[in-house]
Symmetry: C2
Amino acid sequence: MATTTDKKRSARERILETAERLFYAEGIRAVGVDRIIAEAGVAKMTLYNHFPSKDDLILAALQHREATFMDRFTAWMEEAKTGRATRLDAFFSALKRWFESPEFRGCAFINASVELADPAHPGAQFSTAHKVRFRELLKEILQETAGSTGAKQSDAIALLVEGAIVSAVMEQSARPADVAKEAAVRLVKGMKK
Amino acid sequence: MATTTDKKRSARERILETAERLFYAEGIRAVGVDRIIAEAGVAKMTLYNHFPSKDDLILAALQHREATFMDRFTAWMEEAKTGRATRLDAFFSALKRWFESPEFRGCAFINASVELADPAHPGAQFSTAHKVRFRELLKEILQETAGSTGAKQSDAIALLVEGAIVSAVMEQSARPADVAKEAAVRLVKGMKK
DNA sequence: ACAAAAACAGACAGGTCTGTATATTTCAGG
DNA sequence: CCTGAAATATACAGACCTGTCTGTTTTTGT
């Protein structure tokens, strides 16, 4: 019925999914459009009809990733919210689960900012905006878990999380999630010794 | 007298300095060897005589950066160690000064790991090793400033620092240095409220 | 001063990249 | 059924990439 749904969604969606996956796994500059169209099973002109340039595709892939990643992450948080676990516990459980997933290669938005190099690139600007949204989410969780005391520490805890993401990539280990959680709890609750 | 010093140092050193600067400023993949030889003022064969491949040059540039950066950073720390400032204070002063420097574009080793994508790349492995050495330095500073209590927090504080570096790039701001310092002090000294 | 090592200039091979052009095929809606 | 939009396959332009080759000039140690 609607012209823009049904099967036609396939082409555009397949391009976005493939671009998101390859950009994340191997890097934005390392993956060419020929590779994307081959794995997505579309013609080159189809890609360029939907996305006028690779830069446009990069931005669209990042936007797509924010949506899919946030969905997955909040789903993981839901699954972790059992028993007496707080939302903050659930957050760090989800973080660790992410670090342990086989395709983990850090934060797509940090990576994009590094690779694009130019802060004026739409992809870099979107990445910066994503970080703002991420900190909002974290602040909200802290507010709920530890009241205004928690919310006041949200910027510092955000640094712990960013540091954990980066360190997990470089060490190829999920342990930074535990270190970050422990420190976050200490920052919120105060040190016992 | 010595064959490998004097003026001959020029060519190899100029290549390394130029590569380090351009790789850091614009990215490893974004900068080609033609660009490097042009700015270094050397012939292409000179570069390939010293460094068999670009990958070798990447590794050498990262090694060179570790040396020069560590020198500069510790010099900044020395300059900051005035009055009643502890070594930890000096560390965060130097960190902030780095964030404020016009050429700041994050940690060259994090950036290299992101860009190279392959953890087996010698440059990525060197970057991981650099992070170990960096944490050692931080741990030593904490031990000296806050004894074993401080040393015990060194992994968490390292996460704060890594997070601050990444956030400073994405926010284009030096403020994360202050946030990290405040949280580090709280982690070491305990919270007052 | 002389021989050897190093740096030089510049062309070139072979590959990859983004983006365009062209001409054909598929397919849904009226 | 038929028309028009979308997707297809394929070739190509032009730029850039790494790395090689050749031959000349400069520097260096003895």
